[in-house]
């Protein structure tokens, strides 16, 4: 945006005016507020395409703006082109997102492991309960049987006493 304005500002439009910005000047939230300047919105004849005030039919400014696509620009202290820069942004975002996914997966696994451990201590296992049930059932049956035997013995003893 700044680069386009810097070039466009030096050009002359068909009316011979110079110093008009192509984009609105912004100081923050660039991507959100990116907009064409008011002059150009009002009249496309404000678009400046020539660098010479004496020859208003040239198109060198338009070509210079087209050149920006492949020109070296310094962004954040690095010399790059717009294409490489946007590719690197995409790549960085991809990397960050991938890292976040990996981390989230890793932590999910950790969580699962710990909660499995907890569950193994505190949870209810139907197999164990079943085996306990059977165990206690048999124990109960055994105990009942013991009482039964004791009962029979007691009955026999009482019979003898009579």
């Amino acid at each position: 945006m700044t680069e386009v304005n810097a070039i466009h500002g030096t050009g002359y439009n068909p009316g011979g005016t110079t110093g008009v910005n192509f984009f609105e000047n912004l100081t923050r939230d660039y991507a959100a507020n990116l907009d064409i300047s008011d002059e150009i919105k009002a009249d496309v004849n404000y678009i400046a395409v020539t660098s010479s005030a004496s020859n208003l039919s040239g198109n060198d400014i338009a070509l210079a703006i087209a050149d920006l696509g492949t020109a070296d620009v310094t962004i954040g202290g690095t010399t790059t082109t717009y294409v490489s820069y946007s590719a690197s942004i995409a790549s960085t975002i991809g990397n960050l997102s991938q890292n976040a996914q990996n981390l989230s997966e890793y932590h999910q696994n950790l969580l699962d492991m710990v909660s499995n451990q907890r569950e193994s201590v505190s949870g209810v296992s139907i197999d164990e309960e079943m085996s306990n049930l059977i165990k206690f059932q048999y124990a109960y049956q055994a105990a009942a049987r013991l009482i039964n035997v004791a009962d029979t013995l007691m009955s026999a003893l009482i019979g003898i006493g009579r």
Partner: protein, 606 residues
């Protein structure tokens, strides 16, 4: 490990979730036919794809430009053929003019008017909203037909060239044809006006137009430092060489003879600035550069904004009279270099030395020296006829040379009879007589028995000067010796050939019944036709080039797309199989899960 129920439940759940996620992923890949749908799928490949996409979109723009150029070329081709056809018709009419019945001559005039009207229509052809011959001023008609059938070229000098467009990355060029290229030629011609009373011969060395550099117009500025070109008389090509010599090996300089513009290529590894706006850059005007600084990146070129070789002269007879005889009694003329706005003082007309009785070649201190084998030969000052000057040259050269003057060609010939090779150093800065004797500034090496013949007519230049300068640009103008007298206000022109002006002149000549004019100027029709043919060839070349670039572009686009598809395209067959396997597992898992959910403790009791 103790496996609790909720553990088992959660394990199933997470398995089902992740499998569901995988299925969604595959579904997305199948539906988009791409295996990479988000930057996070593979950041590196995604970044490369962004670059490929940019290449592809730029390529599409180039292709749009090229397709338009192709259409334009087709239109130019038709237009140029039309110009050539019309000129051929004119040629036939002019050739047969003498033998044509007077009553038919009016129909010739009518036909010529039709031709002019037709060619103005051709010149104002539009493609969409663009006038194809308008150059950079493509939104208004470039040619205006006036009432007298003269045609005015409406495009400003700076806007004449076809618009620069990118046809490939870093390949910027003027593709297309300007109105000037189509209807004007860089060949200069000399002609007398149809209404002139004088119907005799005129002579001009129109092909010898030169760039003359002197102390006042030889400095250019490169990166803020002055570069001084050597003062001298140059053709376009030799001036290009001189610029290259002064700029050094890091630059290459060429002269484009069809547009008469200089093209400087920056072969250094960095950007350079030509400071044309510097007040000291006096060469800007002579070389055709606007007073605007140019920053030229490594490998890029800087081309003149204007054609400075367009200089035209109008000669007007100030006082009528004879063309020959003593200078004092001859007709006088004045000339204008700005289309008739300002006129020079009157001076005697010249015959280029052809007048055998009274001389009109003035030799003085400014133009009396030439060089032979590096040694100066000085002519005696005086006013000479051609033959007289030849005799004087022979005297000064001494034995072993014979010098002749041919009144029909107005050229000198120096024959070397010395028995050894001799060099005439016409390029020597001190060889001030070269211009008046009609020799180009190129050394001639003449072996014994051979003759060094003048390159152009001998005599004084159009401004009466004996040496070429920035005003006369080495152009001479002379009259015949056996012709009718000149009348006051007769006018003559030395200028670039214009198709419209030629047609208008012929129309006027037909109308006036001036068959002398017709027969004297018939040769210019061929010149115009050959210029049209040449321009057509240039256009055809552009067409071929556009086709080639379109093919290249397509091939490259295909390659990029292929590479991109290899990087991102999904293998649907493989994905399909994966999908089926996953789906089966998923369904099995779901079945098992639902079964597990229905298991209660009671199941164990049965």
């Amino acid at each position: 490990m103790r496996i609790s129920e909720s553990m088992r439940y959660r394990l199933f759940q997470s398995c089902i979730n992740s499998m569901g996620q995988q299925l969604t992923d595959i579904e997305k890949k199948i539906s988009t036919q791409k295996k990479i749908n988000a930057p996070s799928d593979d950041p590196l490949i995604f970044a490369r794809c962004v670059e490929y996409d940019s290449d592809l979109s730029v390529g599409t723009q180039f292709n749009d430009n090229l397709q338009r150029l192709k259409t334009l070329v087709g239109m130019y081709d038709t237009s140029m053929s039309s110009i050539d056809d019309q000129l051929a018709t004119l040629g036939e009419m002019a050739a047969g003019y003498d033998s044509v019945d007077t009553s038919l001559r009016q129909s010739y005039v009518d036909e010529l008017q039709g031709i002019i009207e037709h060619l103005v229509t051709v010149g104002n052809t539009r493609l969409g909203n663009t006038y194809i011959f308008g150059g950079q001023q493509a939104d208004s008609s470039p040619f205006r037909l006036n009432n007298d059938y003269s045609v005015t070229y409406m495009v400003s000098a700076g806007g004449e060239d076809a618009t620069n467009i990118y046809v490939d990355s870093s390949q910027l060029g003027q593709y297309g044809l300007s109105g000037r290229e189509a209807f004007y030629s860089t060949t200069k011609i000399a002609f007398g006006n149809v209404s002139n009373a004088y119907q005799g011969d005129i002579y001009s060395n129109t092909g010898s137009f030169a760039y003359v550099l002197n102390a006042g117009n030889r400095t250019m500025y490169l990166n803020g430092a002055a570069v001084n070109l050597t003062a001298g008389v140059y053709t376009g090509n030799t001036l290009a060489q001189e610029i290259q010599t002064r700029l050094g090996a890091d630059y290459s300089v060429a002269f484009d003879s069809t547009t008469r513009k200089f093209v400087i290529t920056n072969n250094t590894t960095g950007s350079v600035t030509f400071n044309w706006s510097n007040a000291g850059a006096t060469a800007a005007g002579a070389l055709g550069f606007d007073a605007v600084d140019s920053v030229v990146a490594a490998g890029e070129t800087e081309m003149s904004d204007l054609d400075t070789g367009r200089g035209a002269f109008i000669v007007k007879i100030a006082a009528g009279g004879a063309t020959t005889g003593a200078l004092a009694s001859r007709a006088t003329y004045s000339y204008s270099t700005d289309g008739g706005l300002t006129w020079s003082a009157a001076m005697s007309v010249s015959t280029g030395g052809a007048d055998t009785t009274a001389g009109d070649i003035v030799i003085d201190a400014t133009n009396n020296t030439f060089y032979r084998n590096g040694a100066a030969v000085t002519l005696a000052n005086g006013t000479y006829t051609g033959a007289g000057l030849a005799a004087q040259m022979q005297t000064q050269l001494g034995a072993g040379y014979s010098v002749s003057y041919d009144a029909s060609t107005r050229k000198f010939g120096i024959t070397n009879n010395t028995g050894s090779v001799v060099t005439f150093n016409w390029s020597n800065a001190g060889a001030t007589a070269a211009g008046v004797l009609g020799f180009d500034n190129l050394d001639s090496v003449i072996s014994s028995g051979n003759t060094d013949t003048g390159d152009y007519d001998a005599g004084m230049f159009i401004d009466g000067s004996g040496v070429p300068n920035a005003t006369n640009n080495r152009i001479k103008f002379a009259f015949g010796t056996t012709d009718t007298t000149l009348s006051a206000n007769d006018t003559f022109q030395v200028k670039d050939l214009s198709v419209f002006e030629l047609l208008k002149n012929f129309k006027d000549a037909f109308e006036a019944g001036n068959s002398t004019w017709v027969s004297k100027n018939i040769g210019h029709i061929e010149t115009a036709r050959s210029a049209a043919t040449k321009t057509n060839a240039v256009v055809a070349f552009q067409g071929t080039r556009a086709e080639m670039l379109i093919e290249n572009n397509d091939a490259r686009k295909n390659r990029i797309e292929e590479e991109k598809s290899q990087l991102v395209s999904a293998d649907t067959a493989q994905l399909g199989t994966e999908f089926t396997v996953l789906l089966n597992t998923y369904q099995t898992l779901l079945a098992a899960f639902s079964k597990m959910q229905s298991i209660t403790i009671l199941n164990y009791l049965t």
